[in-house]
Symmetry: D2
Subunit: 294 residues, 4 copies
């Protein structure tokens, strides 16, 4: 949502572990996850996010003066910022790797393709800020980001994608997230910008580990078409085995001009589920000046 | 759950960012989160975890052969591996900082103390492997881990706790998680080992940023007492403003003898909620030998 | 939804119980409840109705060849055809009878005013078919049904309301339930016809036991106003202690010209809840000609 | 739960409709439904009943002083007192009528066998109070009620079952519902009394419209066997197309010695679901002495 100060203070002793040493020198954590709240924009194909407090403070106070409040959550997994597991999409009855999509889900879980099979990620992340490279604030609604756009962005930014990277493609559509009414961000009538089939093939060819975007569906949606055709999902999830991260908040990182970073993502290990809400992070080294914790 | 190979391959070009440079040299990610599944052990005070597939592959196949499966989740937030926000516990009608606990939750959310206010963490993490230091496999049920135990562990491990660290206290109780029947791990009748009020004060005195343990309630539960009294929660959440992480899987990290590491945690920003399921990570540098992605 | 044939066959022996004797002579049951399905029109103020199948046939087949499918429901209680308990609405901090509204719900339930306190109903029911009396198909959107309208309807139909009756006020708005898009029935922009404060007072003066209508909010909504002001709810629930039934299907009963009938309603005894989905019935004697069960 | 006084007052004018005339002479409504509350006994195979208040009074007060509270429900459909639709059970891959059980549920609903296809019931109801006929308070745990028991009960009570009746078989097990701990009523270890395959065949031979019992599973469960084999379900739901009502409260009606009555049941029309929570009624004529409403 917003920039988050590192909670690390200055290290009295320099650790021998290079990673921990770098962390203790000071890091800045940029939060790429959207806040989850009742009524937020999400795809109507998935159960809406609801949160309630079964118990509030004061409902039951123990003799010693203590009281606990708790929550109930109801939601789909493809709500808020989230990741698609390979179980999410099939083509002609097959999942990635050729498994039969119907039998894979017998029992109400996908044991071999579910989101619990996604390893936590800490790796190089690349932001391809397409509108910035095109000299625009944001891509137009329904605009298909081309291979030429991706390559121009990569070149201008001097951030060549390498195998194993997580590649986040910004269209600027994320600015609609906070627009009044949830329909603007969903963008059914307007269409939504994003890569199409060819862009997806380019990302697969670069052997990205996972890809992401600042819209619900990751890929370009034609005006009025909704989710009737999702060729980039097919290419990435079914053909290439590449995870897709959606509804990212890429505005702050773009405003800062940060195009290369350590990407961190730890999906909930929901056994057999087709996706998980996540809160991905972009982290960069930034020496601590003040110290103190956030 | 299990050790997770780094997804990072060898870096062709050495990044200038020290953190990213360390990551690209090779890291090993240890997963401290428990898998979430229907019927897993959890506190009966919270709505049980349920997952279903509203749509499975084959239910609706688009003309182009594509099909999507999706999920519905129902759960409390204090289920699986999870973090307690400051909103979770009050004492004598007050939350941390003195806010009135009742009015803080009017409207059904805790805007100022909810889990969305917890900044993502990437910082030094310390495992205090208490039974290892005591020369035992695991602590006895209902055993209260003393300040002397904590200090002996810290000393033996040569891992002094520093301000801002996340401190994970292992009792070994996590081995009960996979025991038959969910009651063993809940441990109502047997009691559960953990720190008590004095241990909590010690952790607060060390100015930990967050603390965690491998049991549901973090703190010691007396046999048969359940959650009738939770003094460590009061000390940590209400008095000291220190987050608590529960139901961690600390078995692998303990078996490996890893006591100091980079701790990563990114709670879901559930607006106004009292907690969040999480999948925390312990990460250490480990030069890539084979390369390749996991 | 649709007319439902009696399941009663001809009775071989005439029962001594007058009610059972009347039933066995033949009754016709008219279903006043709307079908519940994902995506149906409902107020956005309440959690949306969702239904999934955690287990489907074939997921687990027992050795003897048996298999069971089951469901998970998530919903508000003010969805589909439903009844409002006295706990639903307060005015100036008071519930019906003067109870303090805030303390009445401590603990997350309304023990004294919840829907579990509504006794099942089998009593005289009256349909006031207002548009029919006014010589119209349906009332205009946003039209306030006046006391004069109610009295004219009662007179024309020759169905004077008596104390203890359940009075169903038809505006014809129920025809919007099956309109494309859920917004038509919700009627935020158009407004919705129904009684206003004066009509509610009239119904309370007649000492109705419960009242109902074929719209979500029972009462008249001004165009664009939504639920910003609900004076009829105040009069009925808070001042008079009269239950309100909403989203009724009154089209068939109106088409049949049935204005007086036996009304049957059996709300789910959801402890402490503010309402319940229901399936109310209008039953009339109708000698069995063919016999056989439906 | 408890006896419910009729809400009907004395009728000033005698209605011409025989049913309504009988109702207005005075009826007594006996509630056969169990109250639904968090923690109540239910089968662990189904999502547990949870109820929360997203909004309580005082959370949002409108300018005019009005406030509304509302609910969120999460539950399986086979919880509390409930009815099994024909979609619930299959045998050798077939539902009642021979439909393929797997394809019948594609899309996540059972359009042809779901609970929405059950017509509301107002018909003759028979209570077979088996322990009373056997001279016992209750049947022993795990006791199989035999055909001889059913016939003896029918004969002693002088209530021959006729085609189209709803037949409720009391074992007395319902007394366990309020026992401490939810395990007693579930009865996994103890076993639960009820009819077996032969009793089910007898009920089917009598052409009952629906059957019910005061236990979760309707039929006899052997000690320790749980739901591993449910032959009566197969006979009734799959072979005979007879609905099953479970977890009824038959204690009051039995204590009153009421064996023949008007049975009323109106399942929620949950599209495509395998069951529905219900609140069934037994109604008898009982002239109003005091009048007044309940």
């Amino acid at each position: 949502m917003s920039s988050t100060a590192s909670i690390t203070g200055p290290a009295p002793t320099k650790p021998r572990d290079p990673l921990l040493a770098a962390v203790r020198e000071g890091v800045r954590v940029l939060d790429l996850g959207r806040r989850l709240y009742i009524g937020m924009p999400q795809s109507p194909n998935h159960p809406a996010y609801w949160h309630t407090l079964p118990r509030r403070h004061g409902d039951r106070v123990r003799e010693d003066g203590g009281s606990a409040a708790n929550d109930m959550l109801v939601m789909g997994t493809h709500v808020g910022t989230h990741i698609d597991a390979l179980a999410h999409v099939s083509h002609q009855g097959k999942l990635f790797g050729g498994a039969d999509a119907r039998t894979a889900g017998e029992g109400g879980v996908y044991p071999d393709h579910g989101v619990h099979t996604i390893a936590p990620m800490m790796c190089r992340g690349i932001l391809l800020d397409v509108p910035a490279a095109l000299g625009a604030e944001v891509c137009e609604p329904g605009y298909e980001i081309t291979v030429a756009d991706l390559e121009a962005t990569e070149r201008l930014q001097k951030t060549p994608v390498e195998p194993g990277d997580v590649v986040l493609v910004r269209s600027g559509w994320g600015r609609q997230f906070d627009a009044p009414g949830r329909d603007a961000f969903i963008g059914h009538d307007s269409g939504v910008p994003g890569v199409g089939e060819s862009g997806a093939r380019w990302l697969a060819g670069r052997r990205a580990h996972a890809v992401g975007a600042d819209s619900i569906a990751f890929e370009r949606l034609a005006p009025g078409a909704g989710h009737s055709s999702l060729p980039a999902h097919r290419v990435l999830l079914v053909e290439a085995g590449i995870y897709i991260i959606e509804t990212l908040d890429l505005e702050e990182i773009a405003a800062e001009g940060i195009h290369e970073f350590t990407f961190v993502l730890s999906p909930l290990p929901l056994f057999g589920a087709t996706g998980s809400p996540v809160r991905p992070l972009a982290v960069i080294s930034e020496p601590v000046t003040g110290g103190g914790r956030g």
